[in-house]
Symmetry: C2
Subunit: 299 residues, 2 copies
């Protein structure tokens, strides 16, 4: 199982890195391979200071553990102490142009070796624009729906719930899908489902990136982007369970924090002008909406 | 008691704001007064985009609560449900010049009304340079020692312990002092102690600011400053108990997060050049040191 999932994640990592580098046209992804003595592989790839991509991190990790900590299996105490493996691809893109949305995707597989092995998938993707374009949001959510079918409403809600900054009363962005403990229909069917999600990312995000990357922007719009990136840092550092787990468990810090924005502004008590696009972002777009309600299907 | 402490904190806030604005010479502190219907006063004051101070927040808060939550008094369960008050001054200074250290100070007083009232002080200050100057560190710690006397070693250690980024293996800066649950010698003596700490801040930090604010700096040094500010944001968002409590308890977000740096860079896998000042910062200065060990007293 691990081999099949790992092969797919590595292939997806390569494809995404190649295509993002092509979109950027100037910078390349780094390629590191870290092989822990206990087995597995960490392969973080980062593109920094590109022409259109200010920072992108596309990371593959396969970790091998000799003994599952009891805290990790509260629901299945009989698995404590068993050998386990986890494999994941995780990506984030911070575009330079404030009209191109930030995106994040994570797909992961967890496997515990035991008499009766235990495994599950998790993951999802979400989109975080500063200057949302309705057409892009509909494209994004249509792809998410196409990839997840009947599960879309539940996974869309789970995404809105997870990427929520309660102290701000805002979602992180316009959402997407989020799933965990996924075993639906058994391994083969679950892997197909995860591949469907993974394969839908590039044909959805890359056209949005292309469509907005040459939109002219003002210094004020750039400032607003740097300001909004502060929310991203707030979420990742103060709220994200993955980051907290990564920092506490002693994972490689630079990998855990590779998602942080390249440049961020915190402005005390910033208030957007009434009726502005900046005001509409928080008033409308960063509240959960049924984006596909009235939309015409975009092919 | 609350009145005496409040009067001192308000006076200290005014003095610090006046003197920091004078040092800056260009920008002024805002003045807001927020009076909750339940009583008390929040008076956040912020200076932004100054000539020498990029951001400073000096906040006074006096909050009045009708009923102490049980979680707040685990050690004294008989106080749960009692009316309580808390008053605090909290400040942070983010200088523009990378040769001027960031500083932070907090002084607070907590009081529970009951048949046998309960109260304590807490607080401290710490210094976070990017390009440390030994003379400044000795001045800082000499002042801390003069203000806290025999308690200095314990309070200095407590500061090193609290402002520690375990995921980086670094202290936040070169430390200072940190105390909590302070009731030594009763109220009058404790208030004198806290006044001693508060009064020692300006005559120590302002000369350091003056001495370094005109040091010429390169673009590379400015970049390093923005990079190091990332550690400040990591500490405040991911580790600081005060921030976590503030965000969870629904305090005014802009006040809780006023300490965040104005502009921050996260650079993936940055490695300073061997033997550089940037390398020496983490290798030596951000490990707890006995700064006063071999120092000549600086008057």
């Amino acid at each position: 199982m691990i081999e099949q999932v790992t092969a797919y994640f590595l292939e997806l990592q390569k494809s995404i890195c190649d295509n993002l580098a092509a979109v950027d046209g100037a910078a390349e992804f780094s390629l590191e391979q870290i092989r822990p003595p206990t087995g597995g592989l960490a392969q973080p790839r980062v593109l920094a200071d590109g022409a259109h991509i200010e920072k992108a991190a596309v990371q593959f990790t396969h970790s091998v553990g000799a003994s599952l900590p009891p805290a990790a299996t509260a629901r299945n105490p009989h698995l404590a102490g068993c050998p386990f493996q986890a494999t994941a691809i995780s990506l984030i893109v911070h575009p330079r142009n404030p009209h191109v949305p930030i995106t994040h995707m994570n797909l992961r597989f967890f496997y515990v070796e035991a008499d009766e092995p235990s495994w599950y998938f998790g993951g999802g993707y979400d989109l975080t624009p500063c200057y949302p374009v309705d057409e892009d949001i509909v494209r994004w959510h249509s792809a998410a729906k196409a990839a997840t079918g009947d599960h879309y409403p539940a996974l869309k809600s789970a995404c809105d719930d997870y990427f929520y900054l309660s102290h701000r009363g805002e979602t992180r962005g316009v959402g997407g899908i989020f799933f965990d403990d996924w075993t639906n229909g058994g391994f083969e069917q679950s892997l197909e489902f995860v591949k469907g999600v993974g394969d839908s990312f590039e044909p959805t995000y890359l056209p949005i990136f292309h469509a907005r990357m040459k939109t002219p922007f003002t210094e004020q719009e750039r400032d607003f982007q740097l300001y909004r990136r502060g929310r991203y840092a707030e979420f990742n550092l103060a709220l994200d369970r993955g980051t907290a787990y990564g920092l506490q468990s002693g994972r490689r810090v630079e990998s855990v924090l590779a998602s942080l924005p390249p440049l961020v502004k915190w402005v005390y008590n910033y208030q957007p002008e009434a009726g502005s696009r900046e005001a509409k972002l928080t008033e409308y777009y960063l509240k959960p909406q049924d984006w596909l309600k009235n939309s015409i299907k975009i092919s």
